[in-house]
């Protein structure tokens, strides 16, 4: 019997465990496996194999029962998922349905989730911008949250490392607040986007319109072909999963790469209930997993644990990891675990028309989506009555429009002969939010889900700073649109709830001081050194950039550090 037990423990023991297979979990897995570590990846959802499990990827619109529209019944049943722009008939199988995984909203919060191998890396908007020191130094300069324990120079080589592997299309724009990277050729701006770029550059000293940087293979390098990925074919049907591997996802890239090393064990349907802490040894020894289907509990053991369950779920797992040493959650001596949640405010849009550059139109589709305006407010000094600021998208299109008036042969003729009108231009705001103690999550004392895991309370809201930023966005963008000669300019409040930006961050923030933060500068729990949190939960502040690239870079950096400690025998 004793031998059997030893064997079964051996079978359940790995060098490293990664909780979650999404964009950061995939990176942790790849890096750990490449270093020769036997790695167990735990994913709570089903497996999704690249291409094979993309059932809708090659379907024409007319092959969808409702031409991509969700049914009335589904909208009633799943209002949260339905409020996500990408949730449609072609992608709904990659989204969590509301009633499958309940949570408790203290205030309205749309928690958009993708529980499957690859997580939301199948669904993301693929925009990737580096942070600069204007972002890392924000909290210290402006007196909110805590100082980031790292600066741009710490992360720069890891941004390079990640960008080379995932493939990022972009220009070297030479903008200090948006550092350049290791880029593939960009997707150039179109005629009217270029026009706007010229006007903004001539009128404003520190405002820039650049080609949006995106994780698409505009021109694959050997490292991408080696992953089995080829050039992006401009389908812009990414949310279905891409048969070309044209955009980066865990499924197309990091996970198959890790698998090739022979060191990866991927275990779908594995709900991590908690991290196991050994009081004697003073460190984490493994995780407790509930089988999603059978509800059976199993334990797995390892020397290091990477927590990449997605921001709020990583918070949840740590909060649920209770021991005598950590009665309030793993690493939570200061009571700050679950607090200082941040996100991005996507609450404003502006649109207009342009009656110029009419000798041009666009042909094909732009996977980058158009242009990007990096934050220009409060960069070098505080200059407004709000903290931080906003970045924005900018895009122009001249998609043919169809006159649907009347009936009969004339209508039919109109439908079959769409017309080129004026250009239409548009932008949406991406505002930085200030992490606050009052924006927080915690576990319900009684209510549990069907796997016995406590339900999460989410208490996150906008604040006055967010509304001031919005007002500024409307004023400044209107002025910029007018300067460019755009007409019929319309500003619109976007009433989306926090969470609908799908950029939730924080709760397990990094910092210098164990009294005021949970993680050190290597993403290690201050008080439990073999546990690393490298997804959005680690974020001290939010900046305005789309965050996934930074999660990936932080993850690769943390794995490198963990491996150094393991070699030294410290971990």
């Amino acid at each position: 019997m004793a031998n059997i037990n030893i064997d079964s423990i051996k079978e359940c023991t790995f060098d490293a465990i990664v909780i979650g297979s999404g964009i950061s979990g995939g990176w942790a897995t790849k890096e750990l496996c490449e270093k020769g570590l036997r790695t167990l990846v735990l994913e709570r959802g089903r497996d999704v194999k690249h291409v094979k499990d993309y059932p809708t990827t090659n379907m024409y619109p007319y092959e969808f029962e409702h031409r991509l529209e969700m049914s009335y019944e589904d909208k009633q049943k799943n209002p949260i998922a339905n409020r996500c722009y990408a949730y449609r008939e072609d992608s709904q199988h990659f989204f969590v349905k509301d009633d499958e995984h309940p949570y408790i909203q203290e205030k309205e919060f749309d928690w958009i989730r993708g529980y499957q191998v690859g997580g939301k890396s199948l669904l993301w908007a693929r925009q990737v911008q580096r942070w600069s020191d204007f972002d890392f130094e924000g909290p210290a300069r402006d007196g909110f949250a805590v100082d980031w324990p790292i600066r741009y120079r710490d992360l720069a080589p890891w941004y390079d490392h990640v960008e080379r592997f995932i493939g990022v299309a972009g220009n070297r724009d030479g903008v200090a607040e948006l550092p350049d990277g290791a880029f593939l050729p960009s997707y150039p701006l179109n005629a009217v986007e270029d026009h706007f770029k010229r006007v903004v550059a001539s009128k404003y000293a520190n405002r820039h319109v650049v080609s949006a940087r995106c994780a698409h293979l505009s021109q694959p390098a050997p490292i991408h072909l080696e992953q089995g990925r080829v050039q992006c074919q401009n389908r812009v049907l990414c949310q279905r999963g891409c048969p070309f591997g044209g955009y980066f996802s865990s499924n197309a890239s990091t996970l198959p790469w890790a698998e090739k090393t022979g060191n990866m064990t991927l275990r779908p349907f594995s709900v991590v209930e908690s991290i196991l802490y050994d009081e004697q040894r003073g460190k984490a020894v493994g995780v407790r997993v509930i089988d999603a289907n059978t509800k059976e509990a199993t334990e797995f053991y390892s020397r290091v644990i990477f927590v990449n369950a997605s921001t709020l779920n990583s918070n949840l797992i740590l909060l649920n990891s209770i021991s005598s040493r950590f009665p309030n959650g793993l690493g939570n001596d200061n009571g700050l675990l679950g607090k200082y949640i941040g996100f991005h405010s996507y609450t404003a849009v502006i649109s207009g028309e342009y009656e110029g550059e009419l000798e041009y139109r666009t042909d094909g589709r732009n996977p980058a989506g158009g242009g990007y305006i990096p934050r220009f407010r409060n960069i070098y000094k505080q200059e407004t009555d709000f903290l931080r600021g906003w970045a924005a998208t900018f895009n122009a299109n001249r998609n043919p429009y169809t006159d649907t008036s009347g009936v009969g042969a004339s209508l039919k003729d109109q439908l079959l002969h769409p017309k080129l009108g004026n250009w239409r231009v548009g932008s949406h705001m991406m505002g930085e939010t200030i992490p606050k103690e009052s924006n927080k999550v915690w576990l319900d004392a009684i209510k549990k889900d069907q796997w016995g895991v406590p339900l999460l309370h989410i208490d996150v809201a906008y604040d006055d700073n967010d509304w001031k930023i919005r007002t500024d966005y409307f004023e400044q963008m209107t002025a910029m649109f007018e300067a460019a000669g755009f007409q019929n300019i319309k500003t619109r409040n976007d009433d989306r709830r926090p969470g609908n930006d799908i950029h939730e961050m924080g709760g397990v923030r990094m910092g210098h001081d164990p009294q005021t933060s949970l993680l050190n500068k290597w993403n290690q729990l201050h008080t439990c050194e073999n546990v690393f949190v490298t997804d959005g939960a680690c974020m001290t502040s939010t900046a305005t950039q789309n965050p996934s690239l930074t999660y990936m870079a932080l993850t690769a950096r943390a794995v490198d550090y963990a491996f150094t400690l393991m070699k030294k025998g410290v971990l």
């Binding site: 007319y62 409702h66 401009n234 041009y360 009969g408 439908l415 080129l420």
Partner: protein, 160 residues
């Protein structure tokens, strides 16, 4: 009854839009399986005529040949609220009784212009779904306004 269900399912499995022979069992029912709407064969036929008037056959197929009336039924059945569905079914009934199946183009144009017209709600719903079905039909996407699944290019300065 059981046999009938089985055969219905068979048609379903055959895929695409479910279409039954017009001589189907002589039963006065719609030719596709609907979950919520109660539509009889005459009403379905009337809808086909309305749809055909919206998008008539010219040198290319019209609404009826492209089965757009069945698409309208499918969408109203699955993607609309109960209130909408009531307006729709009532519209078909009223049309049947008051208009004696008249679906002339001038009459449709009249309804479209008059928001107070009792059939306005019904008509606009039907028209919107007809146009959607037409533009998203295999016929149009393959032969007329071509939909490219794999463009493989982007040009932001294409000459008009």
């Amino acid at each position: 009854m059981q046999r009938r269900t089985a055969v219905k399912q068979l048609f379903f499995i055959a895929g695409g839009i479910v279409l039954f022979p017009s001589c189907w069992g002589g039963a006065n029912e719609a030719s596709i399986a609907l979950r919520k709407l109660h539509i009889n064969a005459e009403q379905e036929n009337l809808l086909a005529e309305i749809v055909e008037s919206i998008i008539p056959e010219t040198d290319s197929p019209g609404g009826r040949a492209l089965h757009l009336h069945l698409f309208v039924l499918k969408m109203i059945d699955d993607c609309h609220s109960e209130e909408d569905q009531q307006v729709f079914v009532q519209g078909l009934k009223d049309w049947d009784q008051e208009m004696n199946n008249f679906v002339g183009k001038s009459y449709l144009t009249e309804i479209e212009k008059d928001k107070a017209h009792p059939l306005f709600g019904f008509f606009m719903m039907t028209k919107r779904r007809t146009i959607q079905g037409y533009l998203n039909s295999e016929y149009v996407m393959r032969n007329k306004v071509i939909y490219e699944l794999v463009p493989g290019r982007y040009n932001g300065y294409a000459k008009v």
